[in-house]
């Protein structure tokens, strides 16, 4: 009841502010008249009486203020009033407002940009129905639990569980898409027929798959296309349903278009075309090595694992229950099928968490970046707080008068905080724009084309907006609270008499203590030192990485993938095609030599094979695993070697020296005795102290076929630049045919100018081959350096930003201090101090602050940079060169920043100084 009345009164106060104000005015005026009359009755002259009344009413403004506080709309009303007042104050000091807004915009913008990244990669959920009920069911082993499953396993999971309402399975696949006019490579997804239904995704146009379309192998060549592909390739034609496409040479009919925001169940992976599982044998390219033969039917085999599985939990079933049920099921399967399923596990994990291993890496990168931009923002806050403190000192008189007029301290603090919030919101708005721009810039030119194999949606959403708003408010409070408290300290008398007395720290008396402003500068120096040292470490790491010898000469080498496995060539056709390509390309003017390889060095892909040495114990039956996705860095298990089939002239084209033995030649053809060339690490590991030439090895188990080592090649880098030396074995392509080869050529002139000619030659042999990914070898090399370079650039830029902010802060504090001490300096000079003495005096003051900051910063950096160890190559996280060098750099910049105010102090004219006060 009481509250209701209060609310009504306040609301009335707010709505009828004008009239309430007028009533108040009128009431007080009436009082004044009454008082005057009273005075007249007491025997005063009328005008005298009026003056006396006014005198007794001298506190009129204060009374009105007090009444307004009680009466007015309370919170809202004062807030509006404060905001108006704040806006006026800020508009009156455009320079100050601009500097603060820009400083904050830089800090907040950096945070917005990094948060957009975090949001896109870690927080966004895919647009499916009830995503919280969807979980991955990873196949795998105890040591590597987050892997893939086989189709029969999927069928068993589906038939024999009581925790999922349904399960889907899918697998990505590269497809050549021929829609009539042009041929492209697109990303496809082979999906079970219930894929869209279980995810709860309704096609935008047409329909999803019908249950019967996923029953007969090869029976229903139908496809759902993504919204993006529908727009780019079909001009958003609403009549697209029924259109025919050629996917890997097979005719398919479009039945539907996926919704615009849907790119598949996995965050970060996009698919352009969906085809039913039953069609997999037709679209799936034949496995490397046995081109053209029909793919072994993956759907009936439990051994090959290639599927991601996602399940929808039944209502009320928890993740733990699902995990328990799936573990039991996996154990049963490993008993029933010991050959294929021994030690196989099933691991349940929320869909929203993505691939837990990849997520772990992303979380650590995100954490690092957020920490870095967080530091930048802290430094910006310290700067702004410092500026506000300086301004508060100059607003001292205004504030004192307001205090004298009866404004309470709380009221003043609120007013000052409102101003801070206005500033931070302004900064936040600008920062948001800056952040969006940063994200756009970073995306368009930073990442090499295929560095992120995945696509993320970086667009602005509620999360990012909310984050920026929250950050702005917190920032405003953070930098505003201390200055507001200090400025509103009610020591009026002193303030009104003499401002200078209020800055004890700057007056240089004995036993001088740090002022709040000094502490802020110390903190800034320390924080920016931490950032700069991190940047320095990244820079040194990049230098180290750039100095790595890749073991081959990347200059003027072009690579061009020839994905004939999209064309369903037979082995003979394939061999023929490769021979023709090499013949024609080598004949081109400007081409020095040309060759083929399954995996170009540093492309991030490798083939790993189990090595068996003739005459020694065979460990296990041979196996091959294709690994695309950079298993680099980790050392290869002792019986595993990296391997690749290469064409003739491989070593010549890449300038890899052969240390012993011979190169492959035309005699090493199919049917001739098998040969191999190994690298130094291979030789050291398997033939220590022996001559590798003439040794016999097998990559296919103890039964052979055996390969004779005929040459020894120099070590190089194969998967990533940072990897430890790995064993490598080369086989002639003629003896181990593979279908997805990459053409590599060394040119005598500009390599990129030759690409169109090469493309023409290849197309004259096979017009249907998509040739989109021609890359310079040097690009591949720089791709390999990308993480190191990106780290150095990002953290370096933020570190420089921090350095600039800290220098500005130091400059500000010193200038202010010098201007406060003008009189003192004047006296000193009048007493005989020379310019040099004053210069030293001021510099000593500022360098004391810097020294404290550097000491603190070095300690903090020592503790913090350990966290960087995982990101650095060849540099210790406590690298003395980086620590000492950066500390010196920071000190020099600080010295420069305080030199200007110090020189100003040194040229003070004593006469002017005395008049100044």
């Amino acid at each position: 009841m009481y509250w209701l009345r209060l609310l009504r009164a306040r609301l009335r106060g707010l709505l009828r502010r004008r009239s309430v104000e007028r009533e108040m005015e009128e009431e007080l005026r009436f009082h004044l008249r009454m008082r005057a009359q009273e005075n007249v009755r007491g025997g005063m002259a009328p005008d005298e009486a009026e003056r006396a009344a006014l005198r007794s009413f001298g506190q009129w403004p204060r009374i009105k203020e007090a009444c307004r506080d009680v009466k007015g709309g309370g919170g809202v009303e004062t807030l509006l009033q404060d905001m108006r007042f704040g806006a006026r104050t800020l508009a009156k000091n455009p320079g100050f407002t601009l500097v603060v807004t820009l400083t904050l915009a830089l800090g907040i913008g950096a945070n917005t940009a990094i948060f957009s990244f975090v949001n896109a990669v870690l927080l966004r959920s895919v647009p499916v129905a009830e995503p919280e009920r969807l979980v991955y069911v990873f196949g795998g082993t105890r040591t590597s639990p987050y892997s893939v499953s086989s189709y029969p396993d999927y069928l068993d999971y589906r038939a024999r569980n009581d925790v999922f309402s349904d399960l889907i399975a899918y697998s990505p696949i590269t497809l050549s898409l021929n829609s009539g006019e042009q041929v492209d490579t697109v990303t496809g997804l082979i999906v079970t027929g219930n894929y869209f239904d279980v995810l709860g995704v309704r096609p935008r146009v047409g329909r999803a798959f019908l249950p019967e379309e996923d029953t007969t192998p090869g029976g229903h060549p139908v496809a759902v296309v993504s919204h993006g592909l529908w727009q780019s390739r079909f001009g958003a034609d609403p009549g697209v349903v029924g259109r025919k496409l050629l996917l890997n040479g097979q005719q398919f009919t479009v039945v539907g278009v996926a919704p615009a925001d849907f790119n598949g169940a996995d965050t970060g992976r996009t698919s352009d075309i969906y085809v039913p599982m039953a069609m997999q044998a037709l679209v799936r390219p034949p496995r490397g090595g046995y081109s053209g033969e029909m793919n072994p039917d993956l759907l009936s085999k439990r051994g090959p694992r290639w599927l991601d599985i996602v399940g929808r939990l039944k209502p009320g079933v928890t993740e733990e229950q699902a995990q328990a049920a799936m573990s039991t099921l996996a154990a049963q399967l490993s008993q029933s099928y010991p050959d294929t399923n021994r030690e196989q596990t099933a691991t349940v994990s929320p869909l929203a968490k993505g691939d837990p291993e990849q997520r772990g890496r992303l979380v650590s990168v995100a954490g690092l970046l957020l920490a870095v931009v967080g530091l930048v923002l802290l430094i910006a806050c310290a700067n702004v707080a410092n500026l506000l403190l300086a301004r508060a000192a100059s607003r001292r008189k205004e504030i004192s008068i307001r205090l004298a007029l009866g404004a309470s301290r709380g009221r003043l603090v609120r007013q000052l905080l409102t101003e801070s919030l206005l500033l931070s919101l302004l900064g936040g708005a600008l920062g948001l724009l800056l952040g969006v721009w940063l994200v756009k810039t970073m995306r368009t030119y930073s990442a090499p084309a295929n560095f992120f194999p995945v696509a993320f949606d970086f667009s602005l959403d509620g999360n990012v907006l909310g984050f920026t708003l929250l950050l702005s408010v917190l920032t405003g409070l953070l930098f505003g609270i201390a200055p507001a408290l200090q400025a509103s300290k009610p020591d009026l008398v002193v303030a009104l008499k003499d401002e200078t007395a209020l800055v004890p720290g700057a007056s240089g008396r004995g036993g001088r203590r740090f002022t709040l402003r000094d502490l802020l500068v110390v903190a800034q120096v320390a924080l920016s030192l931490v950032l700069l040292i991190s940047a320095g470490l990244f820079l040194r790491s990049l230098r180290k990485a750039q100095g790595i010898d890749p073991g081959f000469d990347p200059s003027r080498v072009v690579t061009m993938p020839l994905n004939i496995n999209l064309l369903r060539y037979t082995k003979t056709q394939g061999q023929d095609f490769y021979r023709q390509v090499l013949e024609r390309v080598t004949a081109l003017p400007g081409v020095q030599s040309a060759t083929l390889t399954r995996t170009p060095p540093l492309s991030g892909a490798s083939r790993q094979s189990t090595v068996v040495i003739a005459g020694r114990e065979a460990p296990e039956s041979g196996s091959n695993t294709e690994n695309s996705g950079g298993a680099g860095g980790e050392s290869v298990p002792s019986n595993i070697t990296l391997a690749s089939s290469v064409g003739q002239d491989y070593f010549e084209t890449l300038n890899i020296p052969l240390l012993r033995g011979r190169d492959f030649n035309a005699q090493d053809r199919e049917g001739a005795p098998g040969v191999a060339i190994v690298n130094e690490t291979f030789a050291r590991r398997y033939f220590p102290g022996e001559d590798p030439i003439g040794m016999r090895v097998s990559l296919a188990g103890a039964q052979g076929p055996w390969l004779e080592v005929v040459g020894l090649a120099r070590d190089g880098k194969y998967v990533t630049l940072g990897e430890v030396p790995a064993p490598f074995l080369y086989q002639p392509l003629a003896q181990r045919h593979e279908s997805g080869m990459v053409l590599m050529l060394r040119t005598s002139g500009d390599p990129s100018g030759l690409v169109p000619a090469v493309r023409r030659e290849v197309h004259s042999i096979e017009p249907n081959l998509p040739l989109t990914n021609a890359r310079l070898m040097e690009e591949l090399l720089s791709t390999s350096l990308y993480p190191a370079r990106m780290g150095a650039v990002l953290i370096g830029v933020f570190g420089l930003l921090a350095l600039v902010l800290a220098s500005v802060g130091l400059y500000g504090v010193m200038s202010y201090s010098v201007s406060r001490r003008t009189r003192e300096i004047g006296i000193r000079m009048a007493l005989g101090a020379r310019g040099g003495d004053v210069l030293r005096l001021v510099l000593r003051q500022s360098m004391t602050l810097v020294a404290f900051g550097v000491a603190l910063g070095l300690g903090a950096a020592f503790a913090a940079t350990r966290l960087l160890a995982g990101f650095l190559y060849g540099v210790s996280p406590t690298d003395p060169a980086a620590f000492i060098g950066i500390a010196a750099l920071l000190s020099i910049v600080s010295l420069a920043a305080s030199l200007v105010p110090a020189r100003r102090a040194a040229t003070v004219d004593p006469l002017v100084a005395f008049r100044y006060e």
């Binding site: 009164a9 009431e27 009082h31 009359q37 009374i63 009444c67 506080d69 009680v70």
Partner: protein, 110 residues
Amino acid sequence: MPKRDAKLLAGTLDMLILKALSLGPLHGFGVGQRIMQMSADALRVEEGSLYPALYRIEQQGWITSEWGVSDNNQRAKFYSLTRAGRRQLQVEEENWVRLAEAVFKVMQTN
């Protein structure tokens, strides 16, 4: 003005205002006058305290105000006690008497 006194005054002043109004509606100036009369010129209420107090009490719902005409034919805002205000006055009077007795006892102790 030292804050402590102001605070002590606030509660007492509210009570005095309620008491003054318990005899009939008055405008702000009148409230001050009546308190002065009732205290035989011992208590002068400063305008700076009076009006904020009036507004505060009105906000509490213990008094209401309406515009009327004063004895000398001028527009003035008149305050009058509400039912809740009457109750409040009673409560405050009792508290005050208890407090005054207690203080008196303390002061009587030798």
